[in-house]
Amino acid sequence: MSEPLVTFRNVEKRFDDFVAVRDMSLDIHEGEFLAIMGSSGCGKTTTLRMLAGLEAPTSGEIRIGGRLMNDVKPHERDTPLVWQSLALFPFLTARENVEFGLKMRGMAAAERKRRALDWLERMQIEAFAERNVATLSGGQKQRVALARSLVMEPRMLLLDEPLSALDANLVIRMQGVLTRLQRELGITFVYVTHSQSEAFAMADRVVIMSQGDIAQIGSPKDIYRAPANRFVAEFVGRNNILSGTVGETGGNGLHIDTPQGRFVAHMPETVPAQGAEVSFTVSADLVTLSLTEPEAVNKVQATLISEEFIGSVVTLFFEGADRLEFKVQMQERALLELDLEPGSAVWLSWEAENANILEDN
């Protein structure tokens, strides 16, 4: 693999006593769409701001294209940022906003106007070029903000929760716009968000952060199916988490004794010692529901508590032994056939290879 575009080496950022980013090491590759995800205060925005030069790392190294960037001022970088607030200049028109960066670079007026109009056209908002940005709609502003950054022809575009202010329909549309743009331009996108759906829908790789640490790096599928630790498991998706102690390790997998019974999980790369505390996850959509006791290695009995519909997918919440909550995701159509009502007792089961051992417990 070629030299990464960006490398973080043991980067730490403190604000007085508060550690925003702790000992971060991360490579970002040319042309990838990287999402950094986490709840507020996890350090994701600080990471992005360090990339843009708006914060200087307290220790460690940040390199872009091999160059040490720790003390390079923001305006000497080529890292345009699409702001959460959009930060469009309210006293300028859409076109003037887009021209701003070119003007700072000292480009001749005619040339920068041409480029700005090109980009506005590409974003399909050329009709609003001479309008004051304050009069534009949310989606239009978003496109101006994108055009303003992209007109700089950067190697890397930084995006800080750019879609958080838009309504749901628009978010889906803009996701399409963003992924298409990224593919067409072939440049690196570093996308900070707290929204799992945005990150998983668009990113090649996702970085999950928690309290200044990287919790997991991986493709959306990796993270979804195999959360590395409890934090990720709880943060991402509909995971059922069970904890217990390692029993005997037979040929068919790892045996784990939990209050809900003994389960078999597929053998992880590093085998925990017998008697060790261990947790594992099972994705809600990989749990099978049956009214009668199924022929399965891993099964529990549970009672339906409630249901939650999102589109055609329904999430069922069950209570198992020891008041443990189970989640099961299925198509609404499949649910209708089962004819459940709250209080119904059912069997839940899953395959051993769908049980994913967490690195921590």
Binding site: P74, S85, A87, G101
Partner: protein
């Protein structure tokens, strides 16, 4: 029932308050057009005599010129100082920020007569008294807080990312100042210019102490009131009123207008 009666009473009361506040202003206007030297009721004849008198008075014109120089220079200086402070407060956190802000915000709480005394003693000590720009120096200290307050309010309305966005797009801090902060604050800067100019244009106590032989309009008014009182005071007052009002209305239209717009 009671509410209605109360409303009528309150309406009258508010009217009375406004009558009190505007009586001296309106009477001054009436007196300035009245032939009597010591006006009373019934009023004398309508006359423009007092206006003709000040129109023909070279000293008044000189004072107007001085006042224009003083108030415009004060406005520029005070607005610059106010802008610097407002921006520093907005942008930076630093040790001793409290004393720093107190340094600029304190002067208006000190009575003008004390400022006048201290200013004259100090300025004559360092050899800067008795000049037209002595007034400008003193007024800049007195009015800068007002400029600071207006501009700080405006900066408060600014998305703090805006400045960083300008850096992010390749603008240096200076360029960001020139192309983002200043344009964004423009309405407040204009308002501050108008407001500080208006305050300076009307200030007499400090001016009177430090001006030496240079007279501004309020000093001429003070001298007429102290000396040979006559209704030219009212004529000058009406003129000052119109000048100040023009500035204030400009400031209101520009600043308040924007504020309402940006809120809606």
């Amino acid at each position: 029932m009671m509410g209605r009666g109360l409303n009528i009473f309150l309406g009258l009361y508010v009217g009375l308050i406004f009558a009190f506040v505007f009586a001296p202003i309106l009477f001054s206007l009436v007196f300035s057009l009245n032939s009597q030297r010591f006006p009373t009721i019934p009023l004398g004849e309508f006359t423009l005599e007092w206006y003709v008198q000040i129109w023909n008075d070279e000293d008044v014109w000189q004072a107007v010129r001085n006042s224009v120089i003083v108030s415009s220079s004060t406005a520029v200086l005070a607005t610059f100082l106010g802008f610097c402070t407002a921006y520093s407060d907005f942008r930076y956190n630093f040790r001793f920020k409290g004393p720093y802000l107190a340094l600029i915000l304190l002067p208006p709480t000190i009575p003008l007569i004390i400022m006048a005394l201290a200013m004259l003693a100090w300025l004559s000590r360092i050899g800067l008294s008795g000049q037209l720009w002595s007034i400008i120096l003193a007024h800049s200290v007195l009015t800068a807080p007002f400029a600071m307050a207006l501009i700080r309010l405006r900066l408060h309305q600014m998305d703090p990312d805006l400045e960083a966005a300008a850096w992010n797009l390749g603008g240096s801090e200076w360029q960001a100042m020139r192309h983002v902060i200043v344009p964004f604050c423009a309405p407040a800067i204009v308002s501050a210019l108008c407001l500080t100019a208006a305050i300076s244009f009307d200030e007499f106590a400090v001016s009177w102490f430090v001006s030496g032989l240079n007279k501004t309009v309020p000093i001429v008014i003070l001298e007429i009131v102290q000396g040979n009182i006559d209704p030219t005071v009212n004529a000058i007052g009406t003129f000052v009123f119109l000048t100040s009002m023009t500035l204030v209305i400009l400031a209101q239209v520009i600043f308040i207008g924007r504020q309402i717009k940006s809120h809606s």
